[in-house]
Subunit: 345 residues, 2 copies
């Protein structure tokens, strides 16, 4: 029987709109029935008709006429006249980019309420959403990254040499990111980044650096995508990245030798480790002087990086069979019983 999937999208974040774009892009990609679950800016959930889904449905506010859903033990429920009906799906795909989705918040809720989902778990979200924690994590698993320093709101002095790239510590999608070539441009760029976060990451900007993306997941064995060398002009600004989130057409594999390809894929597997089990992630790597550096982990990549895989639906179906299970913890009140006995109660 064909699997059914739910796609959770929206959320309260700067990436709310690109989440909508990602979700819609998947409609033409997946060869299975989809239930769309929208989280609006008031954090109410709506069941969106797959036939009627368009970006305008959300920008116009018309989505509010859709049935509301409640997330509770076991799944999402829709009120009908006399009782509640549970929304039926085999697994949920978390496509909420940025806040709520990638920071571990929705992962926590889905875990708590025992909803089977594809996406980063709480800890994986926290470690990849915050670019400093990603650096610390990479270091702990022996994966190299670009140099960095972290500035806190109010700080305007850097110790790295120009040019540098400035990023809000907790955002994806190039929002608030600037390249700074000289001290004169620094203050403005920092102010832009501080708009989005109280802390910013400063890294050397490496002119013309070779960049490679690999996506994948662990479904028993690893399933890895082709290696892509993303096209870029300097770096993608938000408008271009926005369009990037609607990508569904396949790309060319990067023209690299087998040795580099193998090493990129090996590094991907090290990054994925145990932490990202249950998620389909994309890692963006730099190659500098033959060394592989981890640039970024996208635990919920734009349009789920579907365009990097030969058969994306099959990847999701395989992964859905290997979602992490919660450890079963026996709560038996053994200690309370023994203390009560000791007290003679």
């Amino acid at each position: 029987m064909s699997k059914q999937c739910a796609i959770l999208f929206g959320g309260v974040s700067y990436e709310h709109e690109i989440s909508i774009v990602s979700a819609i892009a998947l409609k033409d990609v997946l060869d299975m029935p989809i239930s769309y679950i929208f989280c609006d800016k008031h954090r109410e959930f709506y069941l969106i008709s797959t036939k009627e889904i368009t970006s305008k449905l959300f920008s116009s506010g018309a989505y509010k006429k859709s049935p509301k859903l409640t997330l509770k033990n076991g799944g999402f429920f829709q009120k009908s006249l006399m009782k509640e009906k549970k929304l039926d799906f085999d697994f949920l795909l978390n496509v909420v980019h940025g806040g709520d989705g990638e920071d571990g918040v929705l992962a926590s809720m889905l875990t708590f309420f025992n909803v089977p989902f594809i996406g980063p778990r709480t800890d994986a979200g926290v470690l990849s959403f915050n670019k400093l924690y990603t650096k610390l994590y990479a270091q702990s698993i022996g994966v190299e990254t670009v140099d960095y320093e972290v500035l806190k709101k109010g700080a305007y002095k850097i110790s790295l040499s120009y040019p540098v790239i400035i990023k809000p510590l907790r955002l994806g999608s190039s929002i608030g990111v600037s390249i700074v070539r000289s001290e004169g441009e620094l203050e403005y760029a920092l102010d832009v980044a501080y708009e989005f976060d109280d802390e910013v990451l400063v890294e050397p900007f490496i002119e013309g650096v070779k960049e490679y993306n690999v996506a994948g997941c662990k479904a028993g064995e690893f399933i890895l995508s082709m290696v892509e060398e993303p096209q870029k002009e300097e770096f993608l600004d938000f408008d271009k990245k926005y369009l990037d989130f609607s990508r569904t057409s396949r790309v060319q594999a990067a023209d690299i030798d087998a040795y580099l390809e193998e090493n990129l894929k090996k590094t991907f597997q090290t990054v994925y480790g145990k932490l990202f089990e249950g998620a389909l992630i994309r890692c963006d790597f730099f190659v500098v002087d033959g060394k592989i550096l981890l640039n970024e982990i996208n635990p919920i990549p734009g349009s789920m990086a579907n365009y990097l895989f030969d058969d994306f639906s099959e990847v999701l179906k395989a992964l859905s069979k290997y979602l992490p299970k919660e450890k079963i913890i026996a709560i038996d009140y053994q200690y309370i019983h023994s203390i009560q006995q000791a007290k003679g109660k």
Copy 2:
């Protein structure tokens, strides 16, 4: 007017029972009305009568006769005949020790549904619940810790010298912890720890090490407790620690010089940083050769470390005025509008 507080306790974790003990201990400590919210092993919420709360209520299963609560936008709701009633409180105190409480899961849910709460936020939970991440965090803020190595299930070789202390990577309360004095004892101790987690932390066991605890929070300014030198026989096993969670009587301040006291408090503040805003935490430090090492961060300490403060209720009330607020993110569909215009739709 007097503040009202809700105490959230229970949760699905190995520390379910000590959370009950902690919650009950607070009844005699707080000088304000308390609403008790219990999260049972099925992750259902119950409103427990403050008059009737005893450990037996839970071990006997009698709590199930209490009214059920639903967590949703804005708070916890109780069904009455015709409509739902919102549970009234000024702030909630998260006293769910271990899983659900300290791993960021309930923090995520309270954040998502906009419930004002005292406790670690999602990221603070994830970084302190996992002892490896605590090490990485400490390193990033320049705070020293004890040496360590991490073993994964199936590994039985260590490189540190004996004696060592073995801890499950993601548990508090001394559960699954052993001191190992020679190779002959290693396998058994590791098997015990692997019962609770697939990864374990190994640290040198420092005989007779000086240990000091400091609790506190940031309510505008820092409010710090006295410094305690916990009494110990080797280390507390679970039974003793269990009783420790019911502590309400004040302790003696540690007999240390002003210089060490100041440095312990300064280190506490560095650890607390921005990450733990909204939480009342306890840091356990070692002092070795005059150096302060961070041993552990308890983001939800047993009975909230109430016994370390002169006026615990005042501390909570002060902190409740400085709970982190979510950044307001305008969701205005600016990009979707502009793309629709570009398409001439």
